[in-house]
Symmetry: C2
Subunit: 338 residues, 2 copies
């Protein structure tokens, strides 16, 4: 019946949509890290020219979509759908950032896994015949996230060693039915996985079980092993979460030491920039996808990669009410060939 599925959970795109264009944007600290050269735009101003950080985050989404459209010589009217979300309450980064484009809009909430979710849904919309072109967008902002989830930034509270740093970054991919690639070939939708971790300063540990769950399902469904891929990247588990995922796979006898990285370990120089366990936020995996992975695939650096953005589905309210932290991970296989 489901000719477009393999195994229990993985979707196979019969006519893999092509990523036509991609763009990203980052803030000051992203411009001081090892990925500085990978950004289309870097802003020294954490307000991005606006009066509040929230409006600044919306400006990032607006500008990153403009960059991606411009690089592909497209106009907003060329897009059949835009799939977008962010971390802000009621996802206002997306709704205000994208309101002027007049593009049919599906709002998403996948916490920091949003780029995986938006890419998945955009790819299915195209392969399903419902769209010719669709965009996937997300953003995060250190200052909006800090004051929403933790403390107002000027308070200057101390951070635990397992804490991560929310990236001030956004990414946008435009997918189309025709194109030279890279191509989205497989999608594994995440399940909500909650192993009872309650420490809101240790998101890596909370999300690692979801990453393991989705990646295991992906390998099983596609009858592949990690060494079949040039690179496997989780979204923002940081150093600790990354090592937990390796441990989980090691127990299954699967070696993930060779080609498994985490975007949260790549965006900043963790030691020099004092970033503790690493980067986090929707913008972390989104900006690396659009500034590092996709250009690398186009340049022939890699042939086939798995990107598995991870998200922690908590809110301050759920934590105050004593709840643990559910995680989710949406995996997408991207290849330079169909």
């Amino acid at each position: 019946m489901n000719t477009k599925r393999v195994g229990a959970r993985t979707v196979i795109l019969k006519d893999p949509p092509s990523i036509l264009s991609y763009a990203n944007i980052g803030g000051k600290l992203e411009g001081k890290g090892p990925m500085a050269q990978c950004f289309d735009e870097l802003s020294e101003d954490s307000f991005f020219g606006e009066k509040t950080w929230e409006k600044g985050e919306s400006a990032m989404q607006q500008r990153v979509v403009e960059h991606a459209l411009s690089k592909a010589n497209l106009t907003p009217e060329d897009l059949d759908f835009i799939f977008a979300g962010d971390l802000l309450n009621q996802c206002i980064g997306s709704s205000f950032g994208l309101r002027d484009f007049n593009i049919p809009f599906y709002g998403l909430y996948g916490a920091c896994s949003t780029m995986g979710e938006s890419l998945s849904l955009a790819a299915m919309a195209i392969d399903g015949g419902f769209a010719s072109k669709a965009a996937a967008v997300t953003s995060s902002h250190f200052c909006t996230a800090e004051r929403q989830y933790r403390m107002p930034v000027p308070y200057g509270n101390q951070r635990t060693p397992t804490a991560q740093w929310t990236a001030t970054a956004a990414g946008c991919c435009i997918l189309g039915r025709e194109g030279q690639g890279p191509f989205v070939t497989h999608i594994t939708c995440g399940k909500i996985v909650d192993k009872g971790v309650c420490d809101v300063n240790n998101m890596g540990a909370a999300m690692a079980p979801a990453a393991y769950d989705t990646l295991s399902a992906f390998f099983k469904d596609t009858k592949t092993v990690p060494s079949d891929y040039d690179l496997i990247l989780t979204g923002d588990l940081g150093e600790l979460g990354h090592s937990i995922v390796q441990d989980f796979f090691a127990k299954d006898g699967v070696n993930m030491k060779k080609n498994y990285l985490d975007c949260g370990m790549l965006l900043y120089d963790l030691e020099k920039q004092d970033m503790h366990a690493g980067a986090s936020g929707c913008g972390c995996s989104a900006s690396l996808l659009c500034g590092y992975l996709l250009p690398g695939l186009r340049a022939g650096k890699w042939r086939r990669i798995v990107l598995a953005p991870t998200g922690a589905l908590l809110s301050p309210t759920s934590s105050f009410q004593g709840e643990s932290i559910p995680g989710i991970c949406h995996a997408v296989c991207i290849s330079s060939e169909k």
Copy 2:
């Protein structure tokens, strides 16, 4: 190219997915309104057996999915995807309510339009060949919404005449490739429409332009007129928003007086229950879809309807920062025949 599109914005489902099962759940006031007989479960306890309202809202989502699965003799393993969202910050109603099902999960944020969005994406996932069965779920809760968007409930603040009452209700539809209907035949994705309304106590006026935009596109794309449908229903515009939509269409020479209603005007007895402009919340259109519209379609009361849930994409933060209120409306055409 896009064989599954008609006109500029509307998706046509070539093999319309069938709604296999539906369920809803409501609270005390929903049980005192004119739709009381339309609920699968009504709870006198606004906590739904939990210790907080937020956990109560999650319990509603869990129970409504259990009801819908049970009515179709399905288990969670039968569902390829679940599309869900709610109004709570970080959509915790869905992530905590659905975490124990182990169903591949795409989280959505469409404010009160979420049932339109989740139904649309579930239907496309099935018609696109990516799923055999998928669920669409959403919820809202008066007490969680009040304290998040407005004032703590015990404060007892006064309400303006244009204010609406967030429904304490949830709805779940299970869609499948095979089945006896009703069938989802067309989908029109909403655009973000912001006409500059800033009054957070007048959501009907803020969302009405989005409803008009989506419904106009739907009629234009499908080359139909309102009288081609037995019923056209917006989500939660209330009395004022409903009359604004009628006025907009009247200016185009289109008569919407005959068969156009709004779910927000149906859920409660507006006068006796002192509900001001009407009901609102994701659960308003979702519970009426699952307890009133779908049973009516099955019973032959209507043959073809358009459901157009509406959402206001604001947050308290965006309003405090002086922003206007963007609206969105996702329309779905549901027919008792393929």
